[in-house]
């Protein structure tokens, strides 16, 4: 059996085997209106044209894709019933699940899948996923075939990404402009009303057909059932107001409870706190085109000076886990390769490296922003730790768009840039390490002078046929990046979600999922 088919078939077979013993999920209680306090404004519900988490929060309850990820981030089938991969790995044949209907009542067919891929290729935010695809076609109403230009071992991993998924829409909406897509999907929830900046209201889609290969929800797929009558996402950007809404019962669930409010809420018997471990990896990137961070010894001196506990404590108000690498602990690809260069907190070594780097007291510009408090707080601590070893620093605080734009222009005088990677590490090593690989390497190697060892490791990560080979290449690349101080990962930040105590089945996840969740009688 071809490898990719195995990849998808493993959880599939397991769940099929389970059907004989376990009943599919059935809502113990149906009804009720759930209101969720969301922290960020939703720019648009066009899931193809937005990578905003706020969009995904809502849209992933409405739309579905051919493939997605399970609870443990494995690719699984969603709207496809089965998948055949050709022996030469150049053709993927998806057999669609039958009886699926869109929220407008129209049955889904392969023509809709073709239209969805066509639209994504034109305006999808991650349309580079399809760069190696030669074409696609639909030999019959229930079959969709992707023809590759050349074999790509990681294609299914990329296709199942939930970052900006290729969601399936009705064919007649194929020409909707970006961010103006009609919100009609196949998921268990359908849109009732959306007022940008205020709320989005969904209702249970009674025509929903759950995936029979599973018994329960898993990740973004599985056996999904809408138990509430309606779910309303209310935009509450002020953290204090979100907490107040949860306390009064106006909101039945919220995301991002401030760490300082958590102790008070813990004592409230009406509220259940749900820590979402590994929300993002807090990280600092050096500018290797600017002095003095172009010097390896100087970058190593910075690395030696850092105390990750102090930095993460300030960044997260104590809600963190130290994490050496670019995957979250527990993920299949996780490795601690390079741990010898992590969390050294050795000022003596740092001073020695500083001396050998020839550092002459140049001011190091630390670029951070206040839109994300954790990045700002982390920068404050790093600044003090660098001052302690004798580095002259200048903190440059901007807003997020300015910070991003300056990061893209290494000639604008910054040395250390603060950011965080959340979704990409959750998607896997491949999605994460693209940030450190040419042509978009985040540490900015001078043009034409990419680190050949890093480049070789990245090529192996993307091209080696065996999963083990690719994982080994990832470990090699992570070790190289840390050894040469091309990035300084600090640790993983925990985000706290919370629900009222009468809410059953809400499990913390990268987006709030409202299927298979219900009110206790």
């Amino acid at each position: 059996m071809p490898k990719a088919a195995l990849l998808l078939a493993a959880p599939l077979l397991a769940s099929l085997a389970g059907i004989a013993q376990a009943e599919p999920f059935k809502c113990p209680h149906r009804g009720g209106d759930f209101t969720f306090g969301q922290e960020a404004n939703v720019p648009s519900l066009d899931q193809m044209a937005s990578s905003a988490i706020a969009t995904r929060n809502i849209a992933m309850n409405i739309f579905e894709a051919l493939t997605t990820r399970d609870e443990h981030n494995h690719p699984i089938l969603e709207l496809a019933d089965s998948l055949d991969e050709a022996e030469d790995h150049l053709t993927f044949t998806f057999h669609l699940r039958q009886g699926i209907k869109f929220h407008n009542g129209k049955p889904m067919s392969s023509a809709d899948v073709v239209a969805s891929f066509d639209r994504y290729k034109r305006m999808g935010f991650e349309r580079s996923t399809l760069d190696n695809v030669d074409h696609w076609d639909a030999p019959d109403a229930a079959t969709f075939v992707i023809h590759m230009k050349r074999a790509q071992p990681t294609f299914l991993e990329q296709l199942s990404s939930f970052s900006v998924p290729i969601v399936i829409i009705p064919a007649e909406d194929r020409d909707d402009p970006p961010r103006q897509l009609k919100t009609i999907g196949t998921g268990p929830w359908q849109l009732v009303d959306f007022v940008p900046g205020s709320f989005a209201k969904l209702k249970r889609y009674d025509g929903y057909v759950p995936n029979p290969h599973y018994e329960d929800i898993t990740g973004f797929g599985g056996y999904k059932q809408a138990c509430f009558d309606t779910v309303t996402f209310r935009i509450v950007t002020e953290p204090g107001a979100r907490v107040a809404g949860l306390q009064t019962g106006e909101l039945q669930g919220v995301e991002d409870v401030p760490a300082k409010s958590a102790p008070d809420l813990k004592g409230d018997k009406n509220i259940v706190l749900l820590p979402l471990l590994n929300w993002w990896i807090q990280i600092m990137l050096p500018n290797t085109q600017a002095k003095p961070t172009d010097n390896l010894d100087f970058r190593k001196a910075v690395q030696a000076a850092l105390d990750m506990d102090e930095i993460m404590d300030a960044a997260s108000d104590g809600n963190y886990r130290l994490n050496v690498g670019f995957q979250y602990p527990g993920q299949p690809d996780y490795t601690d390769a390079g741990k010898a260069d992590y969390n050294l907190h050795d000022p003596a070594l740092a001073k020695k490296l500083l001396q050998s780097s020839g550092y002459k007291g140049e001011t190091v510009a630390i670029l951070t922003n206040k839109d994300y408090t954790s990045m700002y707080n982390a920068a404050l601590v790093v600044e003090q730790e660098l001052k302690a070893i004798g580095v002259a620093t200048r903190l440059e605080v901007t807003d997020w768009p300015t910070s991003t734009e300056r990061f893209e222009h290494p000639e604008t005088g910054w040395n250390l840039y603060f950011t965080a990677w959340g979704t990409q590490p959750a998607l896997g090593a491949l999605a994460t390490m693209q940030f450190l690989a040419p042509p978009t390497a985040g540490y900015w190697p001078p043009a034409g002078h990419d680190d050949p060892d890093v480049v070789a490791a990245w090529r192996d990560m993307t091209n080696l046929p065996s999963e083990q080979g690719r994982n080994d290449a990832f470990a090699r690349m992570q070790k190289l990046v840390l050894d040469r101080a091309y990035a300084y990962p600090f640790g993983s930040l925990t985000k706290i979600q919370a629900v009222r105590a009468n809410v059953v089945g809400f499990r913390p996840f990268r987006i709030p999922r409202f299927s298979n969740v219900y009110f206790r009688d």
Partner: protein, 316 residues
């Protein structure tokens, strides 16, 4: 009078042209662009460049300027980059929210501010006067976001009288609107109440010392008539000027209040647009708001003529 209005409207045109040019220039001068907002933290530089190309913001600035003014001349304010919605439609959809909140806050301001100011002036140097001035100082000094959060904790969480936030359109549910808008309106109004009370007090004190007030009292007119008809009517001209400024402050001050109480108004819309560099939304939204405030000021001028018969705009 009609001639006056036409003149004022014509003088507003260069103001609007200047505002549009300044807004366009400022938005393109400040670093950052909408690609960062659309791409989020996970976007690679390659993806950001792709977004810029898709949006056309990688084109020379003069081409963008010509397109912008070309659209304006055709009555097209453009399309919001983030919302994918027409700028005019997005702004006008939120205008009633901000206006209703501002009018509610204005009503609170006028009732409390005028009453407190008049009472303080009539009881000059009394305990009441001192209390009113202290209250006014409190209103002016206290940060509105702090007051808003305190009100949420007290009235929503502790007492459960009012909702923590959100908005209900007045026509859909007047009682729901009143419950949802009361705390935002109070937090918005408190600063202005203090301001108006102080202005009213000082203006009334000055007016009450005038000869015509003394004459009115000497004629034996009742105190209510002296204060209400003679003193207040004369004090209203400077007060009206302040009310014009207060209306501007209420609309522009709605930014913080709308954010804390999750009210989907203009303030929240424009703040989000500025932070995310949604150029068309900021440019168009500010243009509409400027036009609105110009109209408010013309309305204030009209009020002068109603309040003071000596003011006649059509006389030469």
């Amino acid at each position: 009078m009609a001639r006056f209005f036409v003149q004022r409207l014509l003088t507003a045109l260069p103001i609007l042209a200047m505002v549009s040019l300044i807004t366009f220039g400022l938005m393109h001068l400040i670093p950052g662009d909408p690609a960062a907002a659309l791409g989020g933290m996970s976007a690679t530089p390659e993806q950001l460049a792709q977004i810029r190309h898709d949006l056309g913001i990688d084109r020379p600035i003069w081409i963008q300027l010509v397109r912008y003014y070309g659209g304006l001349l055709h009555g097209d304010l453009g399309r919001s980059i983030l919302l994918g919605q027409g700028v005019a439609a997005a702004t006008l959809a939120r205008l009633p929210v901000t206006l209703s909140l501002s009018l509610y806050a204005l009503a609170i301001t006028l009732v409390l501010g005028l009453a407190a100011g008049i009472a303080a002036a009539l009881r000059h140097n009394s305990i009441l006067d001192q209390a009113v001035m202290m209250g006014a100082m409190f209103g002016i000094s206290v940060p509105s976001f702090w007051l808003a959060l305190l009100m949420i904790i007290f009235f929503a969480v502790e007492l459960g009288w009012l909702p923590t936030g959100g908005y209900v359109p007045f026509l859909q549910d007047p009682v729901g609107w009143l419950r949802a808008a009361t705390m935002p309106a109070i937090s918005l109004a408190l600063l202005q109440v203090g301001l108006l009370a102080r202005i009213t007090r000082s203006t009334m004190l000055e007016t009450l010392r005038q000869d015509f007030v003394r004459t009115a009292r000497a004629k034996g007119l009742p105190n209510a008539l002296v204060v209400g008809k003679h003193a207040l009517a004369n004090a209203l001209i400077p007060i009206t000027t302040v009310v014009g400024i207060i209306i501007t402050l209420l609309v522009s001050g709605s930014v913080v209040t709308e954010t804390i109480f999750s009210v989907p108004g203009i303030g929240q819309l424009l703040t989000s647009a500025i932070l995310n560099r949604d150029y068309p939304m900021v440019q168009g939204g500010l243009l509409i708001m400027t036009a609105l405030l110009v109209l408010v000021n013309i309305g204030i001028d009209f009020c002068y003529a109603l309040l003071d018969p000596r003011v006649r705009y059509d006389e030469r």
